[in-house]
């Protein structure tokens, strides 16, 4: 999920929407320090939106306070969302134009057509 989140902040400040047809679960070693750091680099609202879009069975608070960022349960949930859910097949969708960027075999295809490049 990490790449999709980094990409989501792309178009004119609005995050891309995300759909998934196939999601895989992988196992990744939990490192709370790493997760705390990543949290500072991502758009939490966009990530929360993605979790909702995807219908993942994870509950995330609407806002994150200083205290919650140290909460073990919260960090473990973030670890799972960021590193253990892999979108194998799906798409990222521009909320302005509806343009779909396919995700295939875990790789988002962000190539633009000639006509889309200003």
């Amino acid at each position: 999920m990490l790449t999709s989140n980094i990409l989501k902040g792309v178009k004119k400040g609005f995050p891309l929407k995300i759909n998934a047809v196939k999601i895989e679960n992988v196992s990744v070693d939990y490192n709370p320090d790493f997760i705390t750091r990543i949290l500072q680099r991502i758009e939490y609202d966009a990530l929360r939106g993605a979790v909702i879009d995807l219908g993942l069975n994870e509950s995330l608070p609407e806002t994150i306070s200083e205290t919650i960022q140290q909460d073990e349960t919260f960090l473990k949930t973030m670890h799972k969302i960021l590193l253990e859910y892999e979108i194998e097949e799906g798409e990222l969708i521009c909320p302005e134009t509806g343009r779909k960027f396919p995700i295939s075999k875990g790789i988002p295809n962000m190539l633009l057509q000639e006509t889309e490049i200003s």
Partner: protein, 261 residues
């Protein structure tokens, strides 16, 4: 266009691109298609990380967010386990090798990289820019790299050098003799054809096609090899750039720059 005096077996070579469309087509034919064709063999020959790239990656604080532009088979994605590394490449074949290795990657052109401005602590772009066939497109790629760096962030760019012998020292590329040779084509001034380079020899022209031999076919990869200070020259067109270091590394020109606020 062929005259009656040209040898019957001479194939028609691509020409130096004059437009963006020409450049796209050249790169499609002689970079992207080729890498997808040779992905696994290519990956097998690209496993040893270059020490100075490792040194650059080691200079970042723990948990830095780094983008590898043109990550290929993911050679540098795992150098440290305490960096947040993301990669992008133009080759689906090479990216799928990255996925097998569980790296976070996406398919993208380096002239339009879909990540937010001011996002990354660091960028590496290793042996990528020399596959871009016009100066304007090379500039676009560098502008993108500058854009996505945080202020204070640093990038390392390496490209193949036209000068394979620098200060009387020959690069590994021309020192290790290759017994296979290819027919030498001299540049046809009238048609502006891109010549085929003879591997393991000094470059005759900055733009050339370098053979990759498979059992069943010979493929040609397009390269624009850089001369000394050429990278500095392109970067001088971009404000917000401060050159930190610039050096030659065994047949490659390398530059480290910082994005200023």
């Amino acid at each position: 266009m062929s005259s009656s005096s040209s040898p019957p077996h001479q194939s028609i070579l691509p020409t130096i691109p004059k437009s963006d469309l020409d450049a796209c087509q050249l790169e499609q034919e002689h970079v992207h298609k080729v890498y997808n064709n040779i992905a696994h063999n290519f990956s097998d020959t690209r496993h040893k990380p270059w020490p100075r790239v490792v040194e650059f990656l080691r200079s970042f604080p723990s948990h830095s967010l780094i983008l590898d532009v043109g990550c290929g088979n993911g050679k540098y994605m795992n150098i440290r386990n305490d960096l947040m590394m993301i990669g992008c490449d133009r080759s689906e074949g090479l990216l799928s090798i990255c996925r097998d290795r569980q790296y976070q990657v996406f398919l993208s052109d380096c002239m339009n990289i879909p990540v937010p401005t001011n996002m990354f602590d660091g960028v590496i772009c290793i042996a990528v820019l020399h596959h871009i066939s016009t100066e304007n497109r090379r500039l676009m790629a560098l502008k993108e790299i500058v854009r996505l760096l945080k202020p204070g962030g640093q990038a390392l760019i390496t490209v193949w050098a036209k000068e394979q012998e620098v200060e009387n020292k020959k690069s590994t590329y021309i020192t290790n003799k290759n017994t296979k040779t290819c027919p030498v084509h001299t540049k046809n001034e009238q048609t502006n054809e891109i010549i085929i380079h003879t591997p393991r020899t000094e470059f005759q022209q900055p733009d050339c096609l370098v053979p990759w031999t498979k059992p069943t076919e010979k493929l040609l990869r397009y390269y624009h090899v850089f001369v000394k200070d050429e990278l500095e020259h392109i970067l001088s067109h971009i404000s917000q750039v401060k050159i930190i270091n610039s050096y030659n590394d065994d047949g490659n020109w390398c530059i480290i720059f910082m994005k200023m606020a």
